[in-house]
């Protein structure tokens, strides 16, 4: 037995640096795997535009697009557009997600509220954010408030659904402990409900933000005078497809980065809230 134990120890000691190396290796492998598809696309794009398969006006060459991107960065256009877009997301998210959280908490906690409000909410939620656009344009015009309302709605729905789910999933055993200990309402909220819901809230934040991001670009394309979405429409109007492609790339990369960061944050919160213990 002692020998086996000793061997185990040696194996553990030896494997420690290996583990580090393996982790680094797997990081590079996944980084390479992630890059394969974009590289293929880029090569295809390059071939299509330089060999004249597609007219250069419709599909500009990658190096032109890169040049446009650098120009737009240099004169600050792209940054200004992005700043406008992100401010809209932030405002829409703050309003929509916080209201969605409260609403979800209400229908998750109270069966009565759920039977009164739940079906209507679910029916309205089934209409995609952009389905609201025609009527909202008539009501609000095409000004800033339209965009904020659309984004707030886009954040409200996923947040409310997930918050309700979270509120229903507060472990019954822990609620009974709160009853026996006669915890005050505020303690119950901050030390039981909120921590138990934390993983759900994190998912809600991630889903709301990605919904908001998708809706934002479309709403800016349809009814906007600034922002990333508008930049793309403007590029198409001028027949400057390089601007359109720059816009698409920025949106794609930012969307991917946003999702990546939020997924990481969600994982940390899930671990921190002791969902495993």
């Amino acid at each position: 037995m002692a020998t086996i134990g000793a061997e185990e120890d040696i194996r553990v000691v030896r494997s420690a640096p290996d583990l580090h190396l393996a982790r680094l290796k797997s990081f590079f492998v996944s980084a390479v795997l992630i890059c394969i598809m974009p590289a293929v696309l880029l090569a295809f794009w390059w071939a299509a535009s330089t060999k004249g398969w597609v007219s250069a006006q419709v599909l500009p060459q990658p190096d032109w697009v890169l040049q446009t991107f650098l120009d737009l960065c240099a004169n600050g256009d792209i940054l200004a557009a992005a700043a406008v877009s992100f401010r809209r997301i932030a405002e829409g998210f703050l309003i929509g997600a916080s209201l969605g959280f409260l609403f979800g908490l209400l229908i998750g906690k109270s069966k009565t509220a759920d039977s009164y409000l739940g079906p209507t909410f679910r029916a309205l939620a089934a209409v995609p954010s952009l389905g609201w656009l025609p009527i909202l344009i008539l009501l609000l015009g095409i000004e800033e408030s339209l965009k904020i309302v659309i984004l707030a709605k886009a954040c409200f729905v996923p947040m409310a659904i997930i918050a309700a789910e979270g509120a229903r999933n507060v472990p019954k055993g822990l609620t009974e402990v709160a009853d026996v200990l006669r915890l005050r309402a505020s303690t119950r909220f901050f030390k039981l409900t909120i921590p138990a819901m934390a993983p759900f809230i994190a998912s809600g934040v991630r889903l709301s933000l990605s919904q908001a991001f998708v809706s934002l670009i479309v709403v800016e394309m349809l009814a906007g005078t600034d922002g990333l979405g508008y930049m793309m429409v403007w590029g198409r109007t001028l027949f400057q497809l390089d601007i359109v492609i720059v816009g698409m790339t920025v949106v794609g990369v930012v969307g991917f980065a946003l999702d990546f960061v939020l997924k990481r944050a969600e994982l940390l919160i899930r671990r921190g809230s002791g969902a495993n213990g």
């Binding site: 009974e176 402990v177 026996v180 200990l181 006669r182 030390k191 002791g274």
Partner: protein, 245 residues
């Protein structure tokens, strides 16, 4: 004066349209500083009875009355469940501190009492640990500390050691008795372990299922500390098992 009394308590569930009695005409008086054990096969309603007493379930017939309070001031009832039910996002200390939430104690007093009860259950060094870092026995001791910190007059325990191995169980039984000697508290402990009941209790209620009712009351008139292999205990065990099996 009794710590509390259960009189003619009955309870039934409605299952598939039919009424299923779970508890039928339960009567029990528990004195101050008395330990009462309830043994019975699973499904005899012994856990349900504790839930009624602690107020987690108010749907029953009959009366549960408290020595010198009315029903609503049952704040002096603590409960330990079979699973520790510690809040995973709070430290051991944070969990025990919950017991003082509904009191007017100052922060300093809360801290003192928390460390007092953690000391009592032997977890002083683990105040800052999270529940997932504790072993099963330690987590259960933390849960006991949390229940004791409420300074209850009556402590209800629903198979508190049921999930632990037998050696740890015996050790915790001894700890429970030494805590009980230092703190004036009545204990009702539900268990399916007859030896545990006879080792701890002044009185053992033997329950029978369908519907849950008290079949026998065994007085354990033996001085503590008791010897687990005492022939008197063996004799009482035979009597309990004759009713149970």
């Amino acid at each position: 004066m009794n710590a509390f009394a259960i009189e003619h308590v009955s309870k039934s569930y409605i299952l598939e349209g039919a009424e299923r009695p779970v508890l039928k005409d339960i009567n029990l008086q528990v004195g101050h500083n008395e330990i009462v054990a309830i043994v019975g096969a699973s499904g005899c309603g012994k856990s349900t009875l504790l839930r009624l007493v602690v107020g987690l379930d108010a749907d029953y017939r009959g009366t549960i009355s408290w020595g010198n309070h009315d029903r609503t001031s049952a704040s002096k009832v603590g409960m330990v469940f079979q699973d520790h039910r510690l809040y995973p996002w709070l430290t051991v200390q944070g969990n025990v501190d919950l017991a003082f939430d509904n009191t007017r104690l100052s922060a300093a007093e809360r801290r003192d009492r928390t460390s007092h009860y953690l000391q009592l259950v032997g977890l002083a060094d683990y105040a800052k640990a999270y529940p997932r870092q504790l072993s099963g026995g330690m987590a259960q001791r933390a849960a006991i500390a949390r229940a004791l910190a409420q300074e209850p007059e009556v402590l209800l325990m629903d198979e508190p050691f049921g999930a632990l191995d037998s050696i740890l169980r015996m050790r915790l039984q001894d700890e429970l008795l030494s805590i009980w000697e230092k703190n004036k508290v009545s204990i009702i402990i539900v268990t399916h372990d007859v030896e545990e009941a006879l080792y701890l209790a002044d009185r053992v209620l033997v329950m029978e299922p369908n519907p849950g009712r008290i079949r026998d009351v065994v007085e354990v008139d033996l001085p503590r500390p008791r010897d687990r292999s005492d022939p008197a205990i063996a004799e009482l065990k035979r009597r309990c098992l004759a009713t149970l099996v």
